[in-house]
């Protein structure tokens, strides 16, 4: 079987590349950390990286271009001005794009999301500064929309992940928000401890996001953007309650056996999708 290949962008202030790459590898992908300039300039640096050789493109977390002029703005414009056609082809061939935190901010600025009517060049969503006025690092509970077409969240009902951002307050015009809900493009909402939408309450909703929206996808479900960091829950010990869970297990005479973090499920879904859809398709046509 051919490998599922993932490309994690690096450079210009992006910074979650190592753990994102690691999570993708745990999920079974052949993952590479690739500097943005290597894709733009192709052979200039001797590596000959081509976007088309990959199945999953990751815009990861970080502070690209220091987030000057709006979070993810200059990353979006850099990719837009230099790789637009390649990106169109990538999406057009049914491949996957995930934008996490700064990457989410970038792909909404690129217009990959919301992608209404498969228009991948229009900005309709913004991620504003947190309503609290400051950066926050906190774990949140996400309620996943079971009716969303998103391929990354299949089989997940709820998941806990950390957020770490200053600009995650999702905003769009009322009718666009309604369309997101109507189309099932709202993949996840911030939820309280009982699993209900947080209703704007801080810190369950850490940024004041409209209707608690934490993650959205395009109508195809193959382009996914979220503020929380699945790659930061790559191991059981990343969870803030893990020592409590371990102690509970001990008292049942058990050990902490399952060490993979829940965040990896999101990447595994992507790998499984590529394997079952894209790779098997290639097989049948070749």
């Amino acid at each position: 079987m051919r490998h599922v290949k993932a490309l994690v962008l690096t450079g210009f202030g992006l910074n979650c590349d190592y753990e994102t790459d690691y999570s993708l590898k745990l999920a079974g992908a052949e993952s590479h950390r690739i500097h943005i300039n290597e894709i733009i300039c192709g052979d200039g640096w001797g590596s000959g990286v081509k976007l088309e050789d990959y199945h999953i493109l990751v815009f990861g977390g970080g502070f690209s271009w220091a987030d000057d002029h709006g979070a993810g703005v200059l990353l979006g414009s850099k990719i837009g001005f230099n790789l637009r056609e390649e990106l169109d082809r990538f999406i057009g061939s049914g491949k996957l794009v995930i934008g996490i935190c700064n990457g989410f901010q970038a792909i909404v600025n690129l217009g990959l999301l919301p992608g209404f009517n498969r228009n991948y060049r229009e900005r309709r969503i913004a991620l504003l500064p947190n309503a609290s006025g400051n950066f926050i690092n906190a774990w949140v509970r996400l309620k996943i929309n079971p009716d969303s077409p998103c391929v990354f969240t299949r089989g997940i009902g709820e998941i806990e992940l950390p957020v770490r951002h200053g600009e995650g307050n999702l905003y769009a015009a009322d009718h666009d928000v309604q369309s997101l809900f109507d189309n099932g493009q709202v993949v996840a909402q911030y939820a309280d401890t009982s699993g209900n939408p947080a209703n704007g309450q801080w810190p369950a909703n850490p940024n004041g996001s409209l209707r608690d929206v934490a993650a959205v996808c395009d109508p195809s479900g193959r382009i996914f953007g979220l503020m929380p960091h699945p790659e930061a829950f790559n191991h059981a010990t990343n969870h803030p309650d893990w020592t409590r869970q371990r102690e509970a297990l001990r008292r049942q005479g058990r050990l902490l056996e399952r060490t993979e973090g829940d965040g990896v499920r999101i990447f595994r879904n992507a790998v499984d999708y590529v394997r079952s859809t894209l790779l098997s398709l290639h097989h049948s046509t070749s």
Binding site: T10, G11, F12, G13, L14, N15, C16, Y18, E19, Y22, S23, H35, N37, C41, G44, W45, G61, G62, F63, W65, A66, D68, H69, V73, L74, S77, K78, N109, R124, A126, L128, P129, N130, S132, G133, N134, F135, I136, N137, A138, P162, R164, N169, Y171, G208, H229, A232, N234, H235, T237, N238, P240, D241, T243, R244, R246, E247, A248, R251, L255
Partner: protein, 997 residues
């Protein structure tokens, strides 16, 4: 052509930034501000036509979903409009990224003198006078050291003109030239040194003169066209001999006398006797200690294939001047040390420590920045520095004391990790060799950090660079970091070090010692703007730069990688074995200094140190009768500024980036109680962990700095052991911050006492590092923690900081799955105290609450504590312990409450069961700050195993956790003396700062 673009959020949207400013203006200044809206301003000083500007506006700088923008004024309704921009020469990162994006969009190159500048406009609604609006600008919106502002009222506002065009471009109009300096006599040189602000040490002057008058030196110099020393040379010597670079204080000669006994002792070189000697001794026994005492940071073994790197320092004076820029530059600066250690390491963790005046200070002294505003600034600086670098900042300190109003302390610590081998060689090794090229990578050179004193006394013009203040640029440095790691992994780096204090003069001067010589073309050094003198290029402290030695055959590949990462790298000279450091400018030599000159012949600093023991100074225990309201007392203790919740700081620091967070800064069910230490998994594929803790206890210095140091080391160790750290692997980093110790009858009349305090602290450092087998992997000292503050009558009062030691301990956890947190986990668990509680409230929080100092400061007896710690560690490894917590400032009462609050669970405690002397009163059991103690909770099923494990040691089962949320304490006579709801305790604990975001 100059164009000004204004961008604002659509009026219907919440302006969170503006709302925060309005809130702060009301809270801090009591001004009548209803609302503030922020307008971003971009000023383009470039030959761009209308279409190009319009494309930039639409395609780059305006978000169509949320923003509106125009090249005309867009200010909405306002009562006051305040414009704030940077002064010329202050690093404008956003301006640079804007220029970069425009070049990318339009596929053009801006010319050298073109640029983009960012500034902000604040549209304020509120009924204020002009003077009040000015105050708001000065106190909330801007810092005059780095920023300029203008206030517009409605009457004077002309929408067509708007705020006009301000272009803060640096124009020096200066032709660089080398000066020579007369050395006819010592007095003459002294006079010139003073006039030119060379800051040469007085005792160094004869040595410097003798050097330049030596026959052989004169001959060598004459061959290069030099005779009298040049300003480049003397500036270089002055930098290298400064206390900052050379640690003259710690290498000084101390004549110590105990005035109570008359006993005299001469301590020759604190560094050698108290830091180097014990560390070398311990290094011999600990195979995991890889490299100490010479490089930018210490190196220790993490596992078979990796080393970790650790160092710490302070950035006090700059932060005191410009809080945000100072702390930002501090944290970004310390990150370059691990990058420049060995062949270079990847940054994995940063920590912070802020010591400032009381946040609500309302006294009569007038510091330049109110402690509250200063604290806001230093917190934000570390936030931007850490978060934008992609390095977790999971641990830190915040301490309030009026002594820090003279000068605040900003501690920064950094850890990195690197492969154990690069090429076929251990990665901690590096050297320069003749023929290696000298490359400067990263930022460019400006007047940053040159002669702060001179610069601030010059008159400002609109194009004078505010050069002495530096604003760190994490973005530029992050790119450089990524680049250098790739170059390292391809084995392209022969030597690497950072440009910090002293700039190129220090990095090249020190690296050239390996090859024994170097030659530099100063004119090849890339500059931010024209017009720098040669000596300025040589000693500028412009940030985000590394000096790298690269073999000529590796140059091409090195430059390819540099370009890929969009990092500027320039060959500026080469290493040789000439025995000389030679600096050229446009082919003409402007400095020639023998390599060994700075190593030898300079006189040692000398200090008188006079000690009087605490009782001889008249200190005594206070006369206090036992309190009767124990519940109110505990709640009051929990809301003391140095014990209460300060979570707002930790929460705004990214502590999970890099994906290896194991034990976080805030723990417990509510994820809101500070952890004893943090643990991370730096190698994601491995279950090995790195544990880090810190301790800071300057209050004990008021009694005896020896015990202050002992307790601080002891606390840091206990903290790291509590999360699962290994007692056989404890690495230390000592960061001293001390008031001036050189006696002066008028300026520093108690200097001899402060010098004795420093000697005693170092004695304890040596004694306890030996006792606990802690090598000092790194450390720094920062003296002169004093300030002259204006009082109500225009007088100036000297305020000195407490003698302060921040001690950092790193440890390795073999398997992170054994780690433990401090929160009580199950109702019905047994609560134990390990270690003895003594009558040691001196300098502690309880006495402070009573307005007393006391005499009985906590002391550490390693013969008792060390066996307990080893036994404790084995208990953690055996899984006998459900939670573990260090008893530190505030004592058992405060720390039992924290363990319960983290549950959150109730607790029933019997004070009679606490291991303590029979006559110790309740207040002492609850609030004594005796060292060497832990609170642990234990599964009742494991009671027997646990107690057998600790048999023969001073431990006590003092109670149990309960489902009921009551925190109940039984006195020694069997009566309940306290019953408080844990949730109410937490409310009191959160009361002072819990609302801050």
């Amino acid at each position: 052509m100059v164009a000004r673009l204004e961008i604002a959020l659509k009026e219907t949207l919440l302006d969170a930034d503006g709302a925060g400013i309005a809130r702060k203006t009301r809270d801090y200044l009591g001004l009548n501000v209803d609302s503030v809206r922020v307008i971003r301003v971009l000023t383009f000083d470039a030959a761009l036509d209308h279409d190009q500007l319009e494309r930039a506006r639409v395609d780059l700088f305006t978000n169509p979903v949320t923003e509106e923008s125009s090249f005309a004024s867009i200010a909405p309704n306002f009562d006051w409009l305040i414009w704030v921009g940077l002064r010329p020469g202050v690093r404008d990162t956003a301006g640079s990224t804007a220029a970069e994006a425009i070049e990318d969009l339009l596929k053009i190159r801006l010319r050298p003198h073109e640029g983009v500048y960012t500034s902000k406009l604040y549209a304020v609604i509120g009924s204020m006078s002009r003077a009040q609006a000015e105050t708001m600008a000065k106190e909330i919106l801007a810092n005059e050291i780095i920023q300029q502002w203008r206030v517009f009222g409605l009457e004077e506002w002309e929408p067509a003109v708007g705020i006009g065009h301000v272009v803060p471009r640096v124009i020096l109009n200066h032709k660089p030239q080398v000066g020579t300096i007369a050395i006819g006599s010592d007095d003459e040189l002294k006079r010139i040194s003073k006039k030119r602000n060379l800051a040469l040490q007085e005792t160094d002057i004869p040595v410097i003169r003798q050097y330049f008058l030596r026959e052989d030196i004169l001959a060598d110099r004459s061959a290069e066209g030099l005779s009298l020393p040049t300003d480049v040379e003397l500036e270089y010597i002055s930098q290298s001999r400064s206390d900052h670079c050379n640690h003259n204080t710690f290498r000084g000669l101390f004549k110590y006398v105990d005035l109570s006994t008359g006993r005299r002792e001469v301590v020759n070189n604190l560094f050698k006797t108290c830091i180097e000697a014990p560390t070398l001794d311990i290094q011999d026994q600990k195979e995991w200690v890889v490299s100490v005492l010479w490089d930018n940071a210490g190196v220790a073994r993490f596992d078979d294939r990796h080393y970790y790197v650790v160092t710490g320092e302070t950035h006090n004076s700059p932060s005191n001047m410009e809080a945000y820029g100072g702390s930002l530059t501090g944290i970004v600066g310390i990150y370059r040390d691990p990058m420049g250690t060995g062949k270079g390491s990847k940054l994995i963790l940063g920590t912070y420590g802020f010591c400032v005046g009381p946040r609500d200070y309302q006294g009569e002294l007038k510091p330049r920045l109110h402690p509250r505003r200063l604290l806001d600034g230093v917190i934000e600086g570390v936030k931007d520095g850490g978060n934008k670098s992609g390095i977790p900042t999971p641990f830190g300190q915040l301490l309030f004391h009026e002594g820090y109003m003279g000068k605040c302390l900003v501690f920064v610590t950094a850890l990195g990790i690197m492969p154990a081998t690069i090429g076929n060689e251990s990665s901690h090794l590096k050297r320069t060799s003749p023929g290696d090229l000298i490359i400067m990578s990263g930022g460019r050179v400006g007047k940053d950090g040159i002669h702060g004193v001179t610069a601030s006394s010059e008159a400002y013009t609109e194009h004078t660079p505010a050069g002495h203040v530096q604003i760190g640029d994490p973005y530029t440095q992050k790119k450089m970091h990524d680049f250098l790691l790739e170059a390292r992994d391809e084995n392209l780096i022969a030597f690497i070090t950072d440009n910090g204090g002293g700039g190129l003069s220090s990095s090249i001067g020190e690296s050239a010692r390996f090859s024994n010589g170097a030659r530099v073309d100063l004119d090849k050094v890339p500059l931010k703007y024209e017009g720098l003198d040669q000596w300025e290029i040589w000693i500028s402290e412009s940030q985000e730069r590394m000096t790298v030695a690269v073999k000529p055959e590796n140059l091409k590949r090195f430059m390819v990688l540099s370009a890929k990462h969009a990092v500027e790298s320039t060959v500026i000279g080469e290493y040789n074995d000439s025995g000389y450091l030679k600096l050229d400018y446009q082919g003409k030599t402007c400095a020639l200094i023998k390599m060994d000159f700075l190593q030898s012949g300079f006189p040692q600093w000398e200090f008188e140190a006079e000690w009087l023991p605490p009782h001889a100074r008249g200190l005594h225990e206070p006369v206090l009768r036992e309190p009767t309201k124990h519940g109110l007392l505990l709640k009051t203790m929990l809301s003391r500024p140095n014990l209460c919740c300060r979570n707002w700081v930790a929460r705004q620091y990214d502590h999970e980036v890099q994906g290896g967070s194991v034990i976080k800064p805030l723990v417990g069910k509510g994820r809101d109680i500070p952890s004893d230490a943090v643990v991370l998994r730096p190698i994601l594929e491995s279950v090995r962990g790195l544990a880090v803790s810190q301790a800071l206890n300057p209050f004990y210095s008021e009694i005896d700095t020896y015990h202050m140091t002992a307790v601080t080391i002891d606390e840091a160790i206990r903290r790291v052991l509590c999360v699962g750290g290994d007692p056989d692997h404890l690495g230390g980093v000592d960061n001293f911050c001390w008031p001036t110790i050189l006696h002066h009858p008028d300026e520093n009349p108690d200097g001899k006492y402060k010098a004795a305090q420093l000697v005693r602290a170092n004695w304890a450092l040596k004694d306890y590092c030996l006792a606990y087998r802690i090598p000092l992997l790194s450390g720094k000292d920062s003296m002169y923690v004093d300030g002259l503050l204006e009082g109500p009558f225009g007088e100036r009062r000297k305020v000195s900081g407490l003698p302060t030691l921040l001690f950092t301990v790193s440890s390795v956890v073999r398997d992170i799955r054994t780690c433990v947190t401090m929160d009580a986990k199950f109702a019905g668990d047994l609560v134990y105290v390990l270690g003895e509680t003594k009558n040691e409230l001196g300098g502690g929080e309880y006495y402070q609450l009573m307005g007393k100092l006391g005499l009985h400061v906590p002391k550490v007896d390693p013969d008792v504590t060390w066996p307990l710690y080893r036994t404790f560690h084995e208990a953690i490894m055996k899984g006998l312990i459900a939670s573990a917590h260090t008893v530190s400032r505030g004592g058992l009462g405060v720390h039992l409450a924290l363990v319960a609050m983290a549950g959150p669970l109730g607790m029933e405690i019997d004070l009679e069961a606490v291991p303590a002397a029979d006559d110790l009163p309740h207040s002492a059991i609850l609030y004594s700050e005796s060292a060497g103690r832990f609170i642990v909770t234990v599964d009742p099923e494991k009671k027997q195993a646990f107690e057998e494990h600790f048999s023969g040691m001073k431990i006590g089962c003092i109670g149990r956790t309960t489902e009921s949320p009551l925190f109940r304490v039984k006195g020694r006579d069997g009566d309940w003396i306290m019953e408080e709801n844990v949730h109410e305790l937490k409310e009191w604990w959160k009361k002072p700062f819990g609302h801050l975001v």
